[in-house]
Subunit: 356 residues, 2 copies
C-alpha cells in the first residue's frame, strides 16, 4: 500500500516536463526514506479544454479531495484567451478546496544569481504567507451603463473575520515554528491608511491574534514600503503575512529576487483536518520552450519538496531541499532556460544523485 | 508682476528643509531664465493639526486653486496617528483638486547607486502615469457585524469610463511627446485576469483610446509580472499607465530602483484648463533627521523642476534637471541622509552653482 497518494496535473506547455522531474526526484527520495508515492494523472489544461470545452469536469473537485495532495505543473495555453484557464482551473481549485494559505518561501539558493547588488543567500531568506481565498479575488463586481460614455465599473474586496483569523493564526504559528535565530517576526503587509474598511478588519484581527503569540514580534509595513524594502533590505524580513492581491504582487517580486521563475515555488495549503493542498512551481507554461528539454525544473522540484514537507514527510522534503542547493551551488551555470549547462532531465538527474 | 504664483506647503519633519532648497534652486533658475516666482506659505501639517484640530481649514482648497501650482514638502508627524494627515491633506488635495494624473519619472541619475546589478542610467529611465482619483482610493466600503466573530468588511474599487479615458488619453499623449528614440510604447499595468469587472473597463478603454495614437505601441503587463520585470529588465519600459492602487506600489518600487526616496519626485497633475497641480518629493517627513541639515534635497529639487516644466517654464525645468544630474554625477558621495558628503543646504547650493 502506498504511503502517499498524489494527484498530478501536469497542465500546459512545459508543465508536464518540469512535473516529470519533480516526480522523479520525489520517487527517489521516497525510496531512500522508505515510503512510496502513488500518482494519478489528471489531464486538465488547455489542450483538454480546447478538445472538450471543459476546464474542470463535473465531479473533478470531489475526486481530487480523495488525494493526500495535488501537484500542479503549469496553466496557460497560447490558443486559450489569457485568464480562462487561470481562473477556471488554478483559482477554482484554490477556492473550492479552500486552500486559504498561499505559502511562498523566498530563498536565494547558493550559486543562484539575484538581480540585487551585494545580497547573499543569508540576506534573501524569508517566507510570504498570502491569504488565498478572499479580497479582490472574490470575483465580485459589476458594471453600470456598460459600453456607454457614463459607464462605471466596480470590483469589491471582501474580507471576513473568520478568513482573516485562520490565515493570520496560521502565519503566527508558522513564524513560531520557523524559529528564525535572528528573531521571530511576522510583518503584516497591507494598506491600512487607505483601505480603511477592509484593512481595518485585518489590522484589528492581527493585533488580537498577536496576543496569543507573545514570542513573535508583530510588525507592520504598508505594501508600497514593503516593495522598496524587499529590494533594498530583504534581510529585514522573517515572515510576511499579506492579502491575496498584494500577495500576488509581492510573491512575484520575491520570485525575481530569489533568481526568477525557474526557482520559485509555492504551496496552496488547506491546513484543516482532511484538507487537500496543491503545490506548484511559479513559472508559467512557457510555450516557447515546450518540448525542448531546456526549461528549469528546479522550481517544480522545490514544489515537490514543499509537498513532501507538508504532507507528512518533512525529512524527505528537507533532503530534497538540500540536494537542490547542492546542485544550484556546485553544478548549474544559470537558472535561465537553455543556459543551465544541463538539460531539464539532466538537472533532475543531478538532484536525484545529490540525494545520497 | 510675478510670472508664476505658487503655494508652498512645507509640511512636517524635514519637509520644510527640503522645500527651502527646492525654492532656492527655482528662484535661481527663474532669475537666469528671466521670470519671477511669488511664493505663499501655507502652514498645513501635523503641528498645525495638533494645535488647531484642523487639517485643511474651510476655504483652503478654494484658496489653493488661485495659484499656478502647489509645492508640497512632506506629510506625516510622529504625534499624529498614521493615515490621518496623509488622508486629510495629501489625498484630500489630490481628490478635491481633481489631480487625476500622478506622474512619476523613474530615472537613474548619473552617479546614483541603484540596488539592481549591472543597470545603468540608460537602463532605468521610464515614467509611470498613475491614475490618481479612482480605484480603491475612493474610500468606499463598510462593515457587517463589526467586532463580532462573523464580521465582514468590504472595500470597493470604482472606475468610471470618463476617469479611465482622461487618464489613458493623457498617458498616450505623454508617450507621444516623450518620443522615446527606442520606440514609443505605453504599457498598461493591471490585473485583467482577476479583476474581471473593474479592469475590464480599463482594458476596453485602453484599446479604444489606443486607436487615436497609432504611433504609440500599446502594451500590457499584469501587475505581478511588471514588478518582476521592473527589477529584472527595467529597460523594457518607456511609459507605464496604471491604476491608483497598483501605481502606489509600482512607483515606490520605481523609487527604490532609481536610488531611493532621496531622489524620487512626483507630480499630482490636473491637466485641464484652470487645473491646479501639486508637486512633491516622494520621501516622507523623516522625523529622525529633522533639523539636522542632513536630509537629501535632490527629490524636492526634482519636484521643483517638474513644477517648472509643467507650469509653463519647460526650459527652466530642463535646466534644473541638468544641474541635478551634474551634482549627483560629479559631487555627491551618496543619496542617503547624512552620507551625501555635503549638508542639505550645500547640496542646494551645488545645484544652484551648476545651473550656470
Ligand atoms: C495566474 C494568476 C491567476 C495567479 C494569481 O493571480 O494568483 C498567479 O499570478 C499566482 O500568483 O499564482
Ligand atoms: C501617503 C499615501 C496615502 C500615499 C498614497 O498611498 O498614495 C503615498 O504612498 C503616495 O504614493 O503618494
Amino acid at each position: 500500500m502506498p504511503n502517499m497518494k498524489i494527484a498530478v496535473i501536469g497542465g500546459d506547455g512545459t508543465g508536464p516536463e518540469v512535473t516529470a522531474e519533480a516526480l522523479k526526484v520525489m520517487d527517489a527520495v521516497a525510496k531512500l526514506e522508505g515510503f512510496t508515492i502513488e500518482k494519478t494523472d489528471f489531464g486538465f489544461g488547455g489542450d483538454n479544454y480546447l478538445k472538450t470545452g471543459e476546464i474542470l469536469p463535473e465531479g473533478a473537485v470531489d475526486e481530487l479531495k480523495k488525494f493526500d495532495a495535488i501537484f500542479l505543473g503549469a496553466v496557460g495555453h497560447p490558443d486559450v484567451a489569457p485568464g480562462i484557464l487561470e481562473k477556471g482551473l488554478l483559482l477554482q481549485l484554490r477556492f473550492q478546496l479552500d486552500q486559504y494559505i498561499n505559502l511562498r518561501p523566498v530563498k536565494l539558493y547558493p550559486g543562484v544569481e539575484t538581480p540585487l547588488q551585494g545580497k547573499t543567500p543569508e540576506d534573501i531568506d524569508f517566507v510570504v504567507v498570502r491569504e488565498n481565498t478572499e479580497d479582490l479575488y472574490a470575483g465580485i463586481g459589476g458594471f453600470l451603463k456598460k459600453g456607454s460614455a457614463d459607464e462605471v465599473a466596480t470590483q469589491t474586496a471582501i474580507y471576513s473575520r473568520k478568513g482573516c483569523e485562520r490565515w493570520l493564526r496560521w502565519a503566527f504559528e508558522y513564524t513560531q515554528k520557523r524559529n528564525n535565530p535572528k528573531g521571530k517576526k511576522l510583518t503584516l503587509v497591507a494598506k491600512t491608511n487607505v483601505l480603511t474598511y477592509g484593512h481595518d478588519l485585518i489590522w484589528r484581527t492581527f493585533q488580537e491574534v498577536a496576543k496569543d503569540y507573545p514570542d513573535v514580534e508583530p510588525d507592520y509595513n504598508h505594501v508600497d514600503a514593503c516593495c522598496m524594502w524587499m529590494v533594498k533590505n530583504p534581510e529585514y524580513y522573517d515572515v510576511i503575512a499579506t492579502t491575496n492581491m498584494f500577495g500576488d504582487i509581492i510573491t512575484d517580486l520575491g520570485g525575481i529576487i530569489q533568481g526568477g521563475m525557474g526557482v520559485a515555488a509555492g504551496g496552496n495549503i488547506n491546513p484543516d483536518a482532511g484538507g487537500t493542498s496543491m503545490y506548484e512551481p511559479m513559472g508559467g507554461s512557457a510555450p516557447k520552450y515546450t518540448g525542448k528539454n531546456v526549461i528549469n525544473p528546479i522550481a517544480a522540484i522545490s514544489a515537490g519538496a514543499m509537498l513532501l514537507e507538508h504532507t507528512g514527510q518533512p525529512a524527505a522534503g528537507a533532503r530534497v531541499m538540500k540536494a537542490i542547493q547542492s546542485v544550484t551551488g556546485t553544478k548549474m551555470k544559470s537558472q535561465s532556460a537553455g543556459k543551465m549547462g544541463y538539460s531539464t532531465t539532466e538537472v533532475g538527474d543531478l538532484v536525484v544523485d545529490a540525494l545520497s
